[in-house]
C-alpha cells in the first residue's frame, strides 16, 4: 500500500481547488454581467438614435407632402434631407454611425467613415432593439455592433456603434480580475498552510510526550487538557492503552517474581539438605532418605514447570484443542468416582446435580476439560470443612449471583463447597497465577497455585468463562462453556 499523502498536502490541495473554483466563478459572472450591462446600454442608445432618425425621415416625408400641395418648397429640400440634421442626431453619442436605405435596399443616407452595409445582411429589421439583437462585425481592424431598425416608410435604418473601448475596458477588467484571483489563491494557500502547521502542532507535542514512555516509565499519562477537543478522544484511548499495558506489565513482573519465589524455595531446600547430608559420613539408609526427599522436591518442581509451560503455551496460542463432542455429565461422573476416595479421607460428601437436558454435550478438548474440572474439584475438596457436602452441578442456567449475560448459550458447571470465606477483594485475583488466598498455606504439599489459572486458561481456550462467589454459605466456582 502507498503511504498516504501528508495532511498538509491534502488540506492545501482541497483549499486550492475550492478557492480557485469560487474565484473563477465570481470573476466569470462579474465579467458576464458587465458585458451584459454594456450591451443593454448600447442597445438603448442605438434605439434612441434609430427612433430619432426615423422621426426625421417622417418629418421630411410630411414636408414633401406639404410641398407637393403648395409647390412652394425650396428646390434643395426636394427629396433630400440635409446631412447636417441627420448628423445632429448623433451628437452626444460616442462614435455612432448610421445608414438609411430605401424600401428596395438602396442606400439613401449614410454617416461618414464606416460602411454599414454588411449589417443589413446580418439580421432582420426590428422595431425595438434589444441587447440580444445586437450584431457585431469587424471592419478595418475595428469592432462594431449594431442592428437594423424598420422605419415607417419602408426605410431600413442601420445603426451601429464602435465597441473598441468596451473591449479594451473588458480586457483590462479580466486581466485585473484574474490577477487578483491568483493573488487571493496564493494568499489563502499560505494561510491554510500556516493553519495546518499550527493545527498539527499538538500532535508533534503528543509524540514528544509519548517518546518518554517506556516499560520502565509506564505511569506517564498524556495530559488531556493540553490538546484541542478533536484530539482528546485519541489521548483518552492512548491513556487507556498505556493503562492496560501497565497492568499487564505489573502482572508479568509479579508473575516473574512469583516464579522466582516458588522455584527458589524448593531449590534452596534441595541445596541445603544435600550440603548438610554431605557434611559428614552417613549410613546408606540416611543417603537413601536424602535422595527420596530430593526426589519429592524435584517432582514438585517438574510439575510446576510443566504447568507453567502449559500456561505459557495457552497464552501464546500454541495450544491446539483436540475438539470432540464431550459429554460433560459422563466426565463429571467419572471424576467424582476418582475423587470419591479423596473425599472419604477428609471426610466430605460428593454430590452431583444435573438440571440440564441430557446429554450435556459441549464441543471441546476432553482431556483439557477433565483437567479443569478436576482442578476445581480437588480445590473444593481441599478447602471444604470436614463433614460437609461438595456439590457439583451442571445447569443451563447461570447462577443467580452471576450478573453478566453471556453472548452465547452456556453450560454452567459449578462446584460448591462449605469452607472459609474468600474475601471479596481477593476473589478477582483468585484465578491469577501463583495466587493464594491464604499466604500462610504457601509451600503446602498441594499444588503450586497454578490449578485455577489452568482452569481459567482452559475456559478462555474454549470461549467460556470462569467466576467465583463466596459468602458465609460457602464458595462457588463456576466454569461456563459454550453449549450448542
Amino acid at each position: 500500500m502507498r503511504k498516504p499523502n501528508s495532511l498538509a498536502q491534502r488540506v492545501l490541495l482541497f483549499v486550492a481547488a475550492a478557492v480557485l473554483l469560487c474565484a473563477a466563478l465570481l470573476a466569470f459572472s462579474l465579467q458576464r454581467s458587465i458585458e451584459q450591462h454594456f450591451a443593454e446600454q448600447d442597445a438603448g442608445e442605438l434605439q434612441a438614435i434609430a427612433v430619432s432618425l426615423n422621426l426625421l425621415l417622417q418629418q421630411q416625408a410630411g414636408l414633401l407632402h406639404a410641398v407637393d400641395e403648395t409647390h412652394t418648397a425650396p428646390a434643395h429640400q426636394h427629396g433630400q434631407l440635409p446631412q447636417a440634421s441627420l448628423q445632429q442626431v448623433l451628437t452626444g453619442h460616442h462614435e455612432t454611425f448610421y445608414l438609411i436605405t430605401s424600401s428596395d435596399g438602396h442606400p439613401l443616407y449614410q454617416s461618414a467613415g464606416v460602411d454599414l452595409t454588411p449589417l443589413l445582411k446580418l439580421g432582420p429589421a426590428l422595431t425595438q432593439i434589444t441587447p440580444i439583437d445586437l450584431q457585431s462585425y469587424q471592419q478595418q481592424g475595428r469592432s462594431f455592433r449594431g442592428a437594423v431598425f424598420a422605419g415607417d416608410h419602408g426605410h431600413q435604418i442601420v445603426v451601429a456603434m464602435a465597441m473598441d473601448f468596451h473591449l479594451h475596458y473588458l480586457h483590462l477588467l479580466s486581466w485585473t480580475l484574474w490577477l487578483s484571483v491568483c493573488l487571493a489563491v496564493a494568499l489563502i494557500l499560505l494561510a491554510a498552510w500556516l493553519g495546518v502547521r499550527q493545527g498539527l502542532k499538538p500532535l508533534a507535542e503528543l509524540s514528544q510526550q509519548l517518546e518518554s514512555i517506556s516499560a520502565q516509565a509506564l505511569e506517564t499519562r498524556l495530559d488531556e487538557q493540553l490538546v484541542p477537543a478533536e484530539l482528546s478522544s485519541l489521548v483518552k484511548s492512548v491513556n487507556q492503552m498505556i493503562e492496560r499495558l501497565e497492568q499487564s506489565f505489573a502482572q508479568l513482573s509479579h508473575f516473574s517474581a512469583d516464579i522466582a519465589h516458588e522455584l527458589r524455595t524448593p531449590l534452596s531446600n534441595l541445596i541445603t539438605q544435600t550440603q548438610v547430608a554431605l557434611g559428614k559420613e552417613r549410613s546408606a539408609a540416611e543417603y537413601r532418605e536424602l535422595l527420596y526427599s530430593n526426589l519429592e522436591e524435584q517432582e514438585r518442581l517438574n510439575r510446576m514447570v510443566s504447568d507453567m509451560l502449559w500456561l505459557a503455551k495457552s497464552d501464546h496460542g500454541l495450544m491446539t484443542l483436540q475438539r470432540t463432542q464431550v459429554d460433560v455429565r459422563q466426565q463429571a461422573e467419572q471424576l467424582l468416582e476418582f475423587f470419591e476416595l479423596l473425599a472419604d479421607e477428609k471426610p466430605v460428601q460428593l454430590a452431583l446435580t444435573v438440571s440440564a437436558a441430557t446429554p450435556c454435550v459441549v464441543n471441546g478438548d476432553r482431556d483439557m476439560l477433565r483437567r479443569a474440572l478436576s482442578n476445581l474439584l480437588s480445590n473444593a475438596i481441599r478447602h471444604a470443612e470436614p463433614g460437609t457436602v461438595v456439590e457439583l452441578s451442571i445447569s443451563e442456567q447461570a447462577p443467580s449471583w452471576f450478573m453478566h449475560t453471556p453472548a452465547h448459550p452456556m453450560l454452567w458447571l459449578s462446584v460448591r463447597n462449605q469452607g472459609a470465606l474468600i474475601p471479596a477483594h481477593l476473589q478477582s485475583r483468585i484465578f491469577d497465577r501463583f495466587f493464594r488466598a491464604d499466604p500462610a498455606r504457601q509451600r503446602h504439599s498441594d499444588g503450586a497455585g497454578l490449578g485455577l489459572a489452568i482452569v481459567k486458561s482452559t475456559a478462555q481456550l474454549h470461549q467460556g468463562l470462569v467466576a467465583v462467589q463466596s459468602d458465609d454459605q460457602g464458595t462457588e466456582f463456576v466454569l461456563a462453556l459454550p453449549s450448542k
Partner: protein, 226 residues
C-alpha cells in the same frame, strides 16, 4: 532383552543405560544418530529408544527410514517437545510410543515393558495369582488364603493391573491413566489413598505383605525379598 538407546545428551544417555541395565535389560548406547542408525540396521534389538532431537540425523527421519527398510522392531521416541502435533508426527512416522522429557524413569520402564509385551499375545488367563492371593477374572472374585476379599470395581481393576505386572514398579501416573483415565499430572494423592485401601483389604492380617510402596517411584506387587 536387547535395547538400543540413541541419545546424544551425555548424562541422559548414561543414566538410561545404567537404569535399564539395573532393571535387567541389555542396553546398547549410541551417542549419535548415524551410529545408532547403523547399529539398528545391522544388529538385532528387541526395542529401540530414539531421541527426536539429534544433531546429525533426527529421530523422525530415522524411524521413517528404518520402517522403509522393513525394520519392524518397536520404537519409542523421546522428545522435549510436547505439542500434540509433535506427538502425532512422531507416531505417524512409524514409532510405537512417544514420551516427553523430562519423564520419570519408572514411566519409561513401564512403557518399554508394555511395548515388549505387545505382539506376544497375552495368554488368555482366567486366574491371576501370587503367593496365596488369587484373582478369578471370569467370576470376578478375589481370595487370599482361602478367604474371600470383597473389592469395589476400581479396586478390582487396580489389583488386576498390579497382578498382571507383578514385580514391576508402576508409577502413580500410569495407575491414574490406566484405571481412572486421568491423563495428566494431578497434584492430588488419590492414587495413594486407593492403594492404601486396597492394601488394607489385601494385606492386613497377613504376615506376608504383597503390595509395596517404592518411595518416590510408585507401587509394586511382589513377594518380599527373601
Amino acid at each position: 532383552m536387547r535395547l538400543l538407546i540413541v541419545e546424544d545428551e551425555v548424562k541422559t544417555g548414561d543414566y538410561l543405560q545404567q537404569g535399564f541395565r539395573e532393571a535387567g535389560f541389555n542396553p546398547v548406547l549410541a551417542r549419535n544418530g548415524l551410529d545408532g542408525y547403523h547399529l539398528a540396521l545391522t544388529e538385532h534389538f528387541d526395542l529401540l529408544i530414539l531421541d527426536v532431537m539429534l544433531p546429525d540425523l533426527d529421530g523422525l527421519t530415522m524411524v521413517k527410514s528404518l520402517r522403509q527398510h522393513g525394520q519392524l522392531t518397536p520404537i519409542l521416541l523421546l522428545s522435549a517437545k510436547d505439542g500434540v502435533d509433535d506427538r502425532v508426527r512422531g507416531l505417524e512416522s512409524g514409532a510405537d510410543d512417544y514420551l516427553i522429557k523430562p519423564f520419570a524413569f519408572t514411566e519409561l520402564l513401564a512403557r518399554v515393558r508394555t511395548l515388549l509385551r505387545r505382539g506376544q499375545s497375552a495368554p488368555a488367563v482366567e486366574i491371576l495369582q501370587i503367593a496365596d492371593l488369587q484373582m478369578d477374572l471370569l467370576k470376578r472374585r478375589v481370595n487370599r488364603g482361602g478367604e474371600k476379599i470383597t473389592l469395589t470395581q476400581k479396586e478390582f481393576a487396580l489389583l488386576e493391573l498390579l497382578l498382571r505386572r507383578q514385580g514391576e514398579v508402576l508409577p502413580r501416573s500410569l495407575i491414574a491413566s490406566q484405571i481412572w483415565d486421568m491423563n495428566f499430572d494431578s497434584d492430588t494423592n488419590v492414587i495413594d489413598v486407593a492403594v492404601k485401601r486396597l492394601r488394607a483389604k489385601v494385606d492386613d492380617g497377613f504376615a506376608v505383605k504383597l503390595i509395596h510402596t517404592v518411595r518416590g517411584m510408585g507401587y509394586t506387587l511382589d513377594l518380599p525379598d527373601a
